[in-house]
């Protein structure tokens, strides 16, 4: 995502390219939900940047979703990366208060590390 200093933005950009290239077609068929991600640099709910991962259309965009997303997640930058890389379990993050969820429960349950392509190391 242009103009963002968040580390998560780099990963979401990769996801955007991933979905656009047709490699993420399976994700759209398997999940089919719209997720809004509120990511804050250090402290939860402070200086949030909003991203939308639309797995109905297979697009990733910056800014709030026009309409009602199926589920909305709030994390910090590091926690989002930890969840997407599989280092942090989403349920454990929820219990420990590192992750807040609003919206459809069934949609939230589909939000797993599988969605995100893994970055390769130079």
């Amino acid at each position: 995502m242009e103009g963002s200093n968040l580390k998560s933005a780099a990963l979401l950009e990769q996801l955007r390219v991933h979905l656009a290239s047709g490699a993420g077609k399976e994700l759209v068929e398997k999940i089919g939900f719209v997720y809004q991600l509120n990511i804050s640099p250090k402290k939860l709910a402070f200086d949030e940047e909003v991203f939308v991962v639309d797995l109905k259309k297979g697009v990733v965009s910056k800014g709030p979703y026009e309409g009602k997303p199926d589920a909305t997640f709030s994390f910090t930058d590091d926690d989002f990366l930890a969840i997407s890389s599989g280092k942090l379990n989403p349920q454990m993050a929820f219990i420990m208060g590192k992750l807040k969820i609003k919206g459809s429960i069934s949609a939230a349950q589909k939000f797993t590390p599988d969605i995100f392509p893994k970055p390769s190391k130079l």
């Binding site: 780099a10 990769q14 890389s85 219990i95 069934s106 349950q109």
Partner: protein, 736 residues
Amino acid sequence: MAMRHLITGQGNCAPDGASSSNPFGNLANAIFGQSSKAQSIKELPGSAVNVPTTSELGTAAPLSTIPGSENEFKQDQLPLARGADFIRGGPSHDWVESFRPPGLPEFAVPDAQLKEFEQIFNSTGPTFGPPVMDGPPQRVLSGVLRSFLASGQAGVPFQPVPVPALGLSESDKQCIRDRSCIMARHILADQPEEYIQAQVNTLLHSLDIDSNYRMKGPMHGPYPEMEEYWNQSQSAMRSGPMHNAADKWITEFGKQNNNPEEWAHSFEQQYGSNGWASEFEQHQSQMAMTGGMNMANLAAMEQSRMLAQTLASNNDPKFQNSKFFQFVSKMSRGELIIEDNQVKQGSASQSSGWADEFQTQYNANANSWADQFVHEEMSQGADKWASEFSTEYNQGGLNENWIDEFSKMRVDDEWAEEFSGGTFGESSADPWVDEFQNQLSASKQNSGASRGVYVFSDMNPYVGHPNPMQEGQELFRKGLLSEAVLALEAEVLKNPDNAEGWRLLGVTHAENDDDQQAIAAMMRAQEADPTNLEVLLALGVSHTNELEQGEALRYLHRWLQNHPKYGGIAPPQPTDSPYGPDVIRLFNEAAQMSPEDADVHIVLGVLYNLSREYDKAIAAFKTALQLKPQDYSLWNKLGATQANSIQSADAILAYQQALDLKPNYVRAWANMGISYANQGLYEDSIRYYVRAVAMNPKADNAWQYLRISLSNASRADMIAACDSRNLDVLQKEFPL
């Protein structure tokens, strides 16, 4: 008659044949003995005896009336009759008088006995004739005895009197002692035993007689049974028992009388001042503490219950039976409590079926929970959300849906599958407790270790090695990266300022796919040698891998500033936050200056990765590879760039080139797995991940990616082996 016999019996107290220094004492005993014989003889002839008795009767009357004066008179008138006078006026006579209470008239029977007694004494008197008697001893002894009797009758304690030595023999003393004891008990029968003893002791003391003298043998008498009866009667008449009873009663009453005060004192000692108030305060404090603790637990249970209700809306039976869900249910019911970062068994632990209990709680609290949510949020969004929840709840009874889903055995929910562990129906929540505790421990450890600090290995066998630097270089060249790490750590422990040691250590960690440790080591190298170009490039690369754009740009910009050839291109003043496009423009100028410098192209490739201009990055790395085709790390960089630009197939080819050059390149193995996984080829990716972690068991990223691939490949049976990092099982299952 009995009295007379008793009196005469006492006369035999002295043993027969005992010598005596007092002739009169001996005379008295002899007279008493003969008196008994005389009586026996005289009883037979009746008339002869009556004549002498009449003449003596007149004498007896005045004697009884005035004993003292009578004795005085007789002594003066009849000097020769002193012996008889002594005998008649002695203790025996007075002792007989004691049996007649004073003031009472004489009885006939006593008078008759008295006359007979007097007759006996008078008749025997003339028989002995005129014996020569020593007046003073008899007079003194008689006086003392009379005083004793008088004091007894009057009830006045006997006063000790100084008496000159009488020259009494032991037998005489014993006789007087025994008779005194007996007479005293007669006279003082109504007095306590102690009083009687005191009086007798005083008398004996006055006569210089030892009161503690023991009798040589038992007292003998003609009628022993009479003596026994007498003792018994004396015992019966004695008031000792009553006295003792009275004393006991008085003592008991005294004790009882003291009970109230004693009880009050005991109470004060036990409870102290304001004891009851203190106890009440303690009780209140305990209640408050208990209440507080319960409130805290109740709050936690309430939150868990809300979470459980939320999760319960998923009707998939796999999820209902998942360990995570049951873990949360137990928390909501208070069976598990989180205290001090520990999961403990709650006091409300129950063994009843969780499904039924949860159903009850769900039905009871669903509406209140929704109302609570509305109340807390007080906004339109909240209303909508609550309505949505109600709609979902009303769409179908949870119980019915759950049963239906259970019957259908649906298996398409990956989330439920992951957390149920693949074993359908598994109902234990314990593994979840363990995982939760592990997470808490890991979180604590992470917070403790600040970032950028190098963490040394434990039990390094290379510590103490004479030349660990050379050993590390050799191991690195052979490709034994984990061993090289240990040797190089020994080097930098030995020489903390060795920049080359730290640099090589950082490179080794980077190749072992551990950027955290690589960054920490390179920072130490940069401190030791701030202008080392290789260190600056390595730091730029590692920060790029960690998606830290700002730090990466800073280090790459300093690379350019410190370069001997291109330093002039960069602005002189240092910039803390260089602008990406500006840095790229500078490096492009450098590339034009020296097209043959591969390092410039490498840095450009990294910069284009940061700006996500992957096509340009690929071009830059390919240019560099034309110049340095044997650089395996360069091949890996090309492959990673292709992978990140979603050209996974091309990336695999590049990785293969890198691995051909360096087979133990752990990062390349991990990158291979990533490329297969990103293409959805999870089965293949598993084998490469296993290879990577086999070479470096500390590659945490590879372990995490392996778990995700196992889940996506529906190999839940191997997730346990992955969690426990059981390499043997994994390598056997996924050979490469």
